[in-house]
Subunit: 196 residues, 2 copies
Amino acid sequence: MALGDAILACLTERPMTGYELAKTFDSSIGFFWKADHQQIYRELSKLRDRGYIQGREVVQSGKPNKLIYTLTPEGRTALRHWAARPSTPPSIKDDLLVRLHALDSIDIEPIRTDLMDRLEHHRDRHENYERILKKRFPEGTASDVLDLGNLLLLRLGARHEQMVADFCEEALEALSTMSGKAIVLPIEDSKREGKG
Amino acid sequence: MALGDAILACLTERPMTGYELAKTFDSSIGFFWKADHQQIYRELSKLRDRGYIQGREVVQSGKPNKLIYTLTPEGRTALRHWAARPSTPPSIKDDLLVRLHALDSIDIEPIRTDLMDRLEHHRDRHENYERILKKRFPEGTASDVLDLGNLLLLRLGARHEQMVADFCEEALEALSTMSGKAIVLPIEDSKREGKG
DNA sequence: ACCCCATATGCACATTGACGCATATGCGTC
DNA sequence: GACGCATATGCGTCAATGTGCATATGGGGT
């Protein structure tokens, strides 16, 4: 139950509604973990059933009533126990890498445009991280433990995006150099072997 | 159907049995994409039903008969069409990052040991990539398009592991510096607020 | 008046993934 | 001879995830 723990982790900051959590998973923690509102509401129900969070209904007019969820002591304990277990290193699982693995059996042009799009995407994200870093940590140091975690997170994010962006650039360059030597395949559906 | 396409991509190299594919997903492409043999066999059935691959049974004695799967022209086309679609940038989704996000609500010691384990893990993987790179690409250049893809892949893997390893080191250092200032919480299940 | 957007929650279905178990047999080891 | 291991394929179940749809309403644009 990884998403559940991510939600518990978010609720340590402050009590939130499912809607607010969904927005959080679209910005701060969402840089590392994607989850849409459906997943979040479903997980919230489970966490409530287990007694890890408590919902307080707030009656509103003009809008549907909202449910503000707060961590219970049991929830805090559960989070601590989860956090005390070793983490599992994830795989990268990027389709782009699968495409590169079969580079000689696919069309190069779409890969080039894809790489260019990805380059832009990762550059944007990198700039975003750097902007937040400069704003939140102009000194580059954290004052307390909470800040330290977020500082480290932002730094990792920034470096990751930078690295992938660099990779895209390099891949594009390499493809340009290669395209002179390699046979550029015309787009046809019936493709025979002959690669020589 | 991402795993299916990863399997098709593997079969462009050479025809393989499910067993061989499972081994492949435990080494080369498996550095980026994890899949156990169950997933692979299930996906192979689907791909066969769709006519993307063809199974040829080879009778064996002493071992169960094996099914060697070959890409059909339809399969090649499907792979090319899939590869022509833009890729979707994945999220990092690492539990360690969730732990760091809630660093002030959890116990530091388990995180330290976790970070040390992860440091070792990522260093090992980094060395592994570097070793393969030196062996397969001593010149650092690729001769054809297939090699280029694999060279790029290995380079990305190496850099990624290096980056995460550096991150772990930095996080450990930061936690050491911080531990002087921060209150080290004793391990108790009933935890009150008071963080001052 | 109509439509889209933001707020706020949720169900249903399909796909994907993780984990255990089952089958069949030869080979080496304790 | 019992046990684990490598080879080789597959079923069943459950958790996690992804996608579409449903509900309810006030406010702003056209």
